[in-house]
């Protein structure tokens, strides 16, 4: 099952390891509870999706059956920024903030705000990608905190992203693209001149710029995960040879 050597391998990335100053016992207990709750939450979403699919017989419009838990648990991830800021998780506030805010943006400022896209299939694409990713990620953190990380979870975390990342990105981009005509028509979240604060904002253009920003950002994140994979899973072969 899990060779003890694996559990203590040098994954400085993301596991709150006790080698550095690390969180205290209270913080660790809190983090375990947090990660367990998040794992459970995303499992609820996963189960919700499956049940809705079985009940309806099609995979269209499944968003409505998991809308509330999706909003709740994805928004709850904002706490992770706090964890980094306070120092109980050794990740960068800026990086974590960026990742969480992009998810929250898609959940609220696109999918929630533009009703017409909620029935699009692209929504299912990114929700499914997020769900599987988060279940693996939060259980990874839970087990790491308890110092009992099954190799399967670690392997899954650093392997599934090959498919899930592009899947999620595709779903997100298609959803934003689908929202564009409605945003332009209704002038959603936009301010025009003249107004007494002498400011203007065009949400339609803003969304297009967001889509363009995926071009430089996505490859960077993707290759970063690939490098992490080499670092984390890379020396597995040596261990098996030695044993």
């Amino acid at each position: 099952m899990s060779a003890p050597a694996m559990g203590t391998s040098k994954t400085a990335h993301d596991s709150s390891n006790k080698k550095k100053r690390g969180p205290g016992t209270l913080a660790t207990a809190y983090l375990v509870i947090y990660n367990v709750v998040m794992t459970a939450g995303w499992l609820v979403i996963a189960v919700g999706l499956v049940r809705a699919y079985l009940a309806r017989g099609s995979y269209h419009g499944l968003y409505y059956s998991i809308e509330k838990p999706l909003k709740f648990f994805q928004t709850g991830a904002l706490l992770e920024i706090l964890h980094c800021a306070v120092g109980i998780v050794p990740s960068s506030v800026v990086l974590t903030g960026f990742q969480v805010m992009s998810r929250v943006f898609l959940t609220w400022a696109v999918t929630h705000s533009v009703r017409e896209v909620q029935s699009e299939d692209s929504v299912l694409l990114f929700v499914a990608a997020w769900t599987i990713t988060e279940i693996i990620r939060y259980s990874f953190y839970t087990f790491s905190l308890l110092n009992h990380l099954p190799y399967l979870i670690k392997w899954a975390r650093y392997t599934f992203f090959f498919v899930l990342y592009p899947m999620g990105v595709a779903g997100e981009l298609l959803t934003i693209y689908a929202a564009l005509p409605y945003v332009q028509k209704t002038g959603l979240y936009s301010i025009t001149l003249p107004n007494k604060y002498n400011f203007s904002f065009d949400y339609h253009t803003f969304l297009i710029l967001i889509m363009i920003s995926y071009i430089p950002l996505f490859p960077q994140l993707y290759f970063h995960m690939m490098r992490q994979r080499k670092k984390v899973l890379g020396h597995v072969d040596e261990y098996s040879k030695v044993e």
Partner: protein
């Protein structure tokens, strides 16, 4: 009869470790600055400001005033070289960063073609506050340019080209953004009319005067050397504007924020307020750094002083 032992210095590329230059008969009391100019003779394109010399390829750069014989090397020294890329002197940097916003704002004020719709090209705004804002904005940057040329003494020699491009993008971009709205044909003057504009103008003028007084005071401190080692920390003088030194370490930043707050209220324009906010955040970071340095260097540094905002921050 005493014989001076000369040093041999070989300069190696810190990445490839190949020998770039070999200097023999180097005086033991030569400084790194002198070695840099010797190296420059062999490689004219690497002027001294571009050179980073270290004893270890991954180590810290040696200072220009380090003396060769005081370094932990034998009489045969290996020094590693790294190219810092094209550099620009601080004076040039400030000139470029200030000229940009000055000229860009004027382009918008004059409503040159292709910015606003064709019928507004080269027209002028009907609101007096727009002309006033242009005058204030231009005054701010002209004052900066004059200070750069005649008042400031800069500590570090140069800045790398990449940083300059980034800084210019920021200053020039923001200037264009706020100028676009202030000079827009659909600009709305402040809600409280002339009174708001006049009060804001007073704030702006006072803060500009304050900022200049502080720069003047800092200039007349006796500081020597490139590392800004000053014998004394700045204190309040007879000039009332310098009395802010009782309360803050960096009143020049305080006044700068004040001037931009004045301009924000005068124009009642969100982009100006945003620029003020970002500038305030950045200057607070700089002020805190400076404040820490003062505390570290001067044991009798006054307790009452805060970095940038009296009693608060």
């Amino acid at each position: 009869m005493s014989r001076t032992t000369f040093f041999e210095v070989e300069i190696l590329d810190s990445k490839t470790k190949e020998q770039l230059c070999f200097l023999d008969k180097v005086e033991p009391h030569s400084s790194i600055a002198e070695i840099k100019s010797l190296f420059h003779k062999s490689y004219p394109k690497w002027y001294p400001a571009r050179q980073s010399l270290r004893l270890d390829p991954k180590g810290k750069a040696l200072r220009d005033d380090d003396i060769l014989q005081n370094l932990p090397v034998g009489t045969s020294a290996s020094i590693y070289f790294k190219d810092l890329g094209p550099q620009l002197g601080w004076t040039m940097v400030f000139l470029v960063e200030c000229l940009g916003p000055l000229l860009i704002y004027l382009l918008f004020y004059l409503r040159v073609p292709y910015i606003y719709s064709k019928k507004y090209t080269f027209t002028s705004s009907t609101h007096p506050v727009v002309s006033l804002a242009c005058a204030c904005h231009s005054f701010h940057y002209i004052k900066r340019l004059i200070e750069t040329i005649f008042v400031h003494r800069f500590s570090h020699g140069t800045m790398p080209l990449r940083s300059i491009v980034r800084n210019c993008a920021y200053y020039w971009g923001f200037a264009a953004w706020l100028a676009y709205y202030i000079n827009h044909p659909l600009y709305t003057p402040p809600s409280f009319g002339e009174r708001q504009v006049n009060y804001a103008l007073i704030v702006f003028v006072l803060c500009e005067a304050g900022n200049f007084s502080i720069h003047w005071t800092l200039n007349s401190l006796q500081c020597e050397g490139a590392g800004s080692k000053c014998r004394r920390y700045p204190r309040p003088s007879k000039n009332p504007f310098t009395w802010l030194f009782f309360f803050v370490s960096c009143p020049n930043y305080t006044y700068e924020v004040g001037a931009w707050v004045g301009l924000s209220i005068m124009t009642q324009c969100v982009p100006v307020a945003l620029f003020t906010l970002v500038g305030f955040a950045q200057m607070t970071i700089w002020a805190r750094g400076k404040h820490k340095t003062y505390i570290r260097e001067f044991k009798d540094y006054p307790n009452l002083r805060m970095p940038i905002l009296p009693l608060i921050l």
